[in-house]
Symmetry: C2
């Protein structure tokens, strides 16, 4: 996270955020909703994954998305085509969603729809492999994505995201033939940071791994 | 940047950073060194670009690197093979280099070598398309990288980095044949944020664009 003037200030900031996250989670629990926080570098494929998910599971699950971006509703508009409610949050200069911003999204959702009808709310975080990992937003599980083009060393260099993740999706596997990329080395670096995490290699383009992702989602409901 | 308690605190943080950046730049100017700040998402290719640059220009320019990573010296060790001094800075939980950290790197460099001998110091920032753009470190120019796998919409969604850049490198162009990627659309989105920026598409793998990058570097000395 950003350097702050002193350790006490940093703790206060994270503490205030945690209180808000607990409040958000209490709402989700009251409504019987599972909330998942999707995080990755920009362009790792969070939005296309949500497109595939909203399309494939729309008969099975009632889903909504809280969509975080610094500016624009480009991603929100992409997802709205699939019929699920999408609440867009523009963070301005902020590098991550915090629990207060997500609280605004939750209350908008609950005012516009009957929250008791929903099974699953995805929070798509700002594309950033560092900061979002430290700010809980009230999710029940954290999903991190890393694309094969980012390289095998990233779990060692950006440890917090990989330590915090409950599920790690290794995306864009269709590009592996064109890269010098070692899947086993990436997985071994991930395990070094987090022995328990569920790892699913997938390609939204070819469909590889999507069934495994949907199965993991079903275990979270 | 991270949310802070109030606007005054944010301004103080950036103001303190700016004072440090000006101090660093005064040192560089005194020693006749050009300093460039390299920034991008994780895995966009900053380190491999520096590898190619240190290798190709080593007879022509005296270079050094200040290498920022949250943890590890993996990238620093890669670069040390090329013979140039590499000062590694681990930022811990921090999502960007600030001017105080870089000041430490500069003073280490000046204590170990004769700073008057150097032409060019690269600062390789933490992989993050958001936060580093707001924290000047004393550089004379900012170089942003975006890989073709990240998508054409990124300049619209992460505007600050693209507005701040003096030179934008579009990396991994060797992968274009395997993607649905429109170079003209990316360039047009970049121009919308920053009409003046120098744009160089390149591939460290095939060498495309590297000569143009070296030529741009020479204009900065």
């Amino acid at each position: 996270m950003h350097q702050t003037f002193n350790a006490a200030l940093e703790i206060n900031l994270l503490h205030a955020n945690q209180t808000g996250a607990d409040h958000n989670r209490a709402h989700f629990d009251e409504w019987g909703i599972t909330c998942l926080n999707l995080m990755s570098s920009p362009g790792a494929g969070k939005t296309v994954l949500l497109e595939r998910t909203l399309f494939t599971l729309k008969q099975e699950l009632k889903m909504a998305v809280i969509e975080g971006d610094m500016t624009t509703e480009l991603d929100a508009d992409r997802l709205r085509q699939y019929g699920a409610p999408v609440i867009a949050i523009n963070t301005g200069r902020s590098c991550h969603l915090d629990s207060q911003m997500v609280s605004g999204g939750i209350h908008t959702l609950a005012q516009t729809y009957n929250p008791l009808e929903f099974d699953l709310v995805f929070v798509e975080n700002v594309g950033n492999l560092v900061c979002p990992a430290e700010f809980e937003v009230g999710e029940h599980a954290k999903v991190a994505l890393i694309s094969v083009t980012e390289g095998e060393d990233k779990p060692l260099k950006y440890p917090i995201m990989f330590q915090e993740a409950d599920c790690l999706l290794i995306t864009k596997t269709d590009l592996v033939p064109y890269l010098e990329f070692d899947m086993q080395r990436l997985e071994s670096n991930v395990r070094q940071m987090n022995p328990q995490v569920t790892i699913i290699p997938l390609s939204a383009k070819t469909g590889e791994g999507l069934e495994q992702w949907f199965d993991w989602l079903r275990t979270q409901i």
